[in-house]
Symmetry: C2
DNA sequence: AGGTAAACACACCGGTCGGTATACTCACAA
DNA sequence: TTGTGAGTATACCGACCGGTGTGTTTACCT
């Protein structure tokens, strides 16, 4: 079995397995999708999956990591590093808006996984925790750069708006939730002493 | 089988079933808890559960409704109807803070259920959708009463902060997330023209 | 020519899932 | 007194779960 975490080189079949598992886990939920279905949809035998990934748990971790990586790339491609911190905060919410319109019909994969994987030590939970910390620190860094008073707290709040927008869009069906959150974030930057 | 939704009168065994199922569904997740375990923990046979509730799906719905009702009662007991709208918004976040410290170690039951129940027509999803709409409308009503400009939008944003605080507390482990959200909500009321 | 990795096919494992069937006891009320 | 509703005990159902074992084929590399 190849190390899923360290080597991004996957065999063609493993690549197909990860792609189809990601799709299935995200849209139907991790616990409701069996390995047999993943194998069938990937055009692969269960044997191959277990040879490449070792266990369902590890496949789940690979799925979460891959999806997180996709989101970070998606975001990075939409942020101009030369823009002002304030503009970069707005761009982050705009990226979330675009992301949700394209590939977020079922809410945040990390939050969903956290709900499904209730065993305290499950490594998938760790991935989700890291992802949420990263997001909060991202906003906090921007708040600090912007010269906000209490940048840590502001970063936390911006991350809350971010998460809340995902829930609003997913459950309540609020189409422009991310843009509403962007406006609120903008107002909060001002309230924290950041010049327009 | 008694109608679970219309008649709140439950037989003693049914009461025990609902209580233990609520505990188990919330802490371990709906899909990972089997009916056999619920029966065993409630000191009841599976037959009794199916006589009273009919199916797992209906038991899940009863669980979600009951938990939502508990939260609404909890909140109502902590809101002074004579206080100003601004104070009531703050009190709502404070109630969330207290609620999370007491019985929210696993995040929002509605969001979790939404993650677990991926089948489009599952009645449990409807309960979650109604709950989120109710929360948003609650905040929007307070924003309107406070005389905020764009009260609907502000209500949406306050609900986002609310949801985001739950995620922050649950996944990131931010202990005072709800109070941080309260401060942000307060600032946003001001930004929306509500006098201090 | 020989070795190795990747994938195949297929059968099988113990265990659990949601749900049902049968037969019995007990309390209470018409 | 005679039902009736609530509950118990136990056995059972087909389907599916995650995971393993054995052996075969294909293709590329040395």
């Amino acid at each position: 079995m190849a190390s899923v975490t360290t080597s991004p080189q996957l065999t063609p079949a493993a690549r197909r397995v990860l792609d189809t598992a990601s799709e299935l886990f995200y849209t139907r939920g991790i616990n409701t999708v069996g390995m047999e279905l993943v194998a069938e949809r990937a055009g692969v035998t269960k044997k191959t999956i277990y040879d490449r990934f070792g266990s369902k748990q590890r496949l789940v971790v690979a799925y979460l990591r891959a999806r997180d990586a996709r989101w970070r790339d998606f975001l990075a491609a939409r942020i101009d590093p030369r823009a002002t911190p304030r503009a970069r905060v707005a761009a982050t919410f705009e990226a979330l808006d675009a992301w949700m319109r394209e590939e977020n019909e079922r809410g945040c994969a990390m939050v969903n996984a956290y709900a499904e994987l209730s065993e305290p030590g499950h490594p998938g939970r760790t991935v989700a925790e890291e992802q949420k910390r990263w997001l909060r620190d991202l906003y906090a860094g921007l708040a600090r750069e912007a010269g906000a008073t209490a940048p840590e707290e502001l970063g936390e709040v911006l991350a809350m708006l971010h998460e809340g927008a995902v829930v609003a869009r997913n459950v309540t069906g609020t189409a422009d939730a991310a843009l509403t959150a962007r406006a609120a974030g903008n107002a909060l930057l001002t309230a924290h002493g950041v010049p327009e």
